[in-house]
């Protein structure tokens, strides 16, 4: 164990945590902005209730995304000074742009949104949340463009042992970035969609429990009108999340396909490692789960040609040794293999859930089908799926790139800060792991508490003679 190993652990730990919160921020922000827009357009009170309710959950999570992001901005210089010096000319530019064009927008306008409810005209206030979420999404673009450059460096030359940017436009329109940005952003919408599904599903179960609707009845024809409106509110949230997840899921699949093809030409080792393919193979098979093999599928997926040759790990290793000298150029195979499958299976399961839900709850107005109780339960149980999928995708992407920080240019072992001691990295790794762990548990507790408590404002529709029917004691 040396400073390099710990620095890698630190980067892994802090980045995976960061990646727990940020996708939710990106997707949920747009969802909240959408709810507020619906309220602005229709004036229906329940949209405002939902805006404030999901807005609160959004803010609890937003804080963690922001503060874990500060670490990322510092970390390259702290642990990876050789990397920073090598890439700064190219990699620093999108980071500076991210701060200047995206973070200022996001943070400033979110402050206006939180505190501006009774200070700004309705329309302007609505604009502030949109400005903030545009900032969040823009930041995803810049940081992912920087990350894509590490996998497929373009628009640069190496002068005096440092990368020097020759074409910013090439860096920002890197084919890898153009596939990766929509893939990750849409993936973030799936995560947020899964989150809203779980929350809305929980609230629907809860309202039904309160009325004694479960398990005696299958539909809620007998439910009193106010109660029904309340369930309708969560049905609307659930439907919105279903639409968001389904659309975003389709984009994830499409751009995942694009990324797969780019791997074939740009990062053959990652592709081979993801499949565990040992040798160059024409018509390579794909095994969705170990033991089952679909012939020619990998060639078809990665090259859109069932007979295409997919390079194998051992053969690529030999070629890389010939090109770069002795060394181990193979990433951690079990992790890459496993994360590839978790990403695909869990991701598709979430999208499948969304399409199923859209079918089950089809219909409008009086024909609107209620959310089946079992489906609401399924939504709650499915919460970990999209999160596991997006984290796995990130592990595949980053661990699959090893042993390079910049593919073909700079090895991870050569990127670490030479002057930083094992002790220093151990202290910071320990502290970050501890603080992140504690705060993540705290965030989970806060989210659960607020989901359980439900919206702050009493819904106007609920205030009626039937209030006695839903005495809180029944709910606990």
């Amino acid at each position: 164990m040396d400073a390099l190993d710990l620095a890698r652990w630190q980067f892994g730990v802090t980045t995976v945590y960061h990646f727990l919160f940020v996708p939710l921020t990106i997707g949920l922000g747009v969802f909240v902005a959408g709810l507020q827009t619906a309220w602005y357009r229709t004036g229906k009170e329940h949209y405002l209730t939902l805006t404030k309710f999901f807005g609160k959950l959004f803010l609890i999570n937003f804080a963690m995304g922001v503060v874990t992001g500060i670490v990322q901005e510092f970390q390259f210089g702290m642990n990876w000074s050789e990397y920073s010096i090598f890439v700064g000319d190219v990699f620093g530019a999108p980071l500076a742009l991210e701060a200047l064009l995206a973070f200022f927008l996001e943070s400033t306008f979110l402050g206006l949104w939180i505190f501006g409810w009774d200070k700004l005209p309705k329309k302007l206030h609505l604009a502030t949340i949109w400005a903030a979420v545009i900032g969040s999404n823009l930041s995803a673009y810049f940081i992912l463009a920087a990350n894509a450059w590490m996998k497929h460096p373009v628009g640069y030359e190496v002068v005096d042992g440092k990368a020097r940017m020759t074409d910013l436009w090439a860096v920002l329109t890197n084919s890898t970035a153009l596939a990766q940005v929509p893939h990750v952003v849409a993936g973030s919408f799936v995560v947020a969609g899964g989150f809203v599904l779980a929350v809305a599903g929980y609230r629907i179960l809860r309202e039904r429990n309160a009325t004694g609707l479960i398990p005696r009845r299958k539909d809620f024809a007998d439910v009193t009108a106010p109660m029904r409106r309340e369930v309708d509110m969560w049905r609307a949230a659930l439907r919105g999340a279903l639409v968001m997840t389904a659309i975003a899921g389709a984009i994830v699949a499409l751009t995942g396909d694009m990324s797969g093809q780019l791997l074939h030409t740009q990062q053959p080792m990652k592709l081979a490692a993801a499949e565990g393919l040992r040798h160059d193979t024409a018509g390579a098979p794909f095994s969705p789960v170990p033991g089952i093999e679909i012939p020619n599928m990998l060639s078809l997926l990665s090259a859109h040609d069932p007979n295409a040759v997919v390079q194998g790990i051992d053969d690529i290793q030999q070629r890389l040794v010939a090109q770069f000298g002795p060394g181990d150029y193979v990433p951690n195979l079990p992790i890459v293999y496993l994360s590839f499958r978790v990403m695909i299976v869990f991701g598709l399961a979430t999208v499948g859930l969304a399409f199923l839900g859209l079918f089950l709850t089809r219909g409008r107005g009086r024909r609107a089908r209620p959310v089946p109780t079992w489906f609401a339960r399924l939504c709650v149980l499915a919460l970990p799926l999209p999160i596991a999928a997006i984290i796995s995708g990130w592990l595949l992407s980053e661990i699959g790139r090893q042993p390079w920080t910049v593919q073909g240019e700079l090895l991870t072992a050569a990127s670490v800060s030479p002057g930083v001691s094992l002790t220093e990295v151990a202290i910071s790794l320990g502290l970050f792991t501890l603080v992140y762990g504690v705060l993540t548990v705290a965030e989970a507790i806060l989210l659960i508490r607020h989901v359980k408590a439900g919206p702050d404002e009493p819904m106007p529709a609920v205030v009626s003679d039937d209030t006695e029917r839903r005495v809180p004691t029944l709910m606990y």
Partner: protein
Amino acid sequence: MTTFWFIVIAFLWTGYFVLEGFDFGVGALMPVLARGEAERRQVLRTIGPVWDGNEVWLITAIGAMFAAFPAWYAGFLSQFYLAAVMVVLALIVRGVGLEWRGKVRARETPLVDAAIVTGSVLPAFLWGAIFGNVLFASAFATVMGGLLSLGLALVHGAVFVALKTKGPVRARARELAWVAGVVLVPVVAFALWRLDAWPAYVAMATYAAGVALVWGGREGWAFACTAVTIVATTAATFLALHPEPLPGLTVESAASAPYTLTILTWIGLIALPGVIAYQAWTYWVFRRRLTAPEVLLESRSA
């Protein structure tokens, strides 16, 4: 071009210290200035809508250093490794504390308040300590630098609270600002004298004026003076850092190639005025002085 970018970096750090300076001061002084929950909320509400945007000045300064002077960025953060870890951890607990304070249970707020206070005091001290160490490379200078930045943040923050509130909090903030200002005179005078550049003497003068003005009840002008004090102190620091921002490293050798610097210049020239404009507008929207009862009643997403 490298000199121009050095000035840009100095400008971004200046923006950060002026804006986050009062955020730190407000966070650190909250338990002293406020009696009871309503007043605590009143004090924190003065920075509520703006602190996050203010912190982005740091992210931008660090990002711009990375892009324009990679070797400076890398050397700065890897040499002050543990200090940087502490700063970041402090900013984490403070940020989370400020965002979550309105969302936790009453019995948990003391814990959140402790996070806010620690998370404000620590970075306010550490930034000055780090720059003091870069410039003079002695333990004494490190402590003095830290005391200077912490002291300026406290006075600046107290003046800000006095400017933004009404009622007993305002009176307490005003009194604390001038008392702390007078107490800190030896530290501030000595540290600025050691910086020994003309902006440092400007800082001395505006500091004295700021303390006098807040004593006299002219809070707006006092705030302008403490802000100029921080601007001038940062300017003096960066003058001393030029042309060797780290021992053995010149600005010239640390800089990115002209192509990158030119592009960044254009983007910065277009974007930064916009940023300053909308941040200024935020302060305009929230320009009114706050009272404790109205803070309790206002509608917000928190």
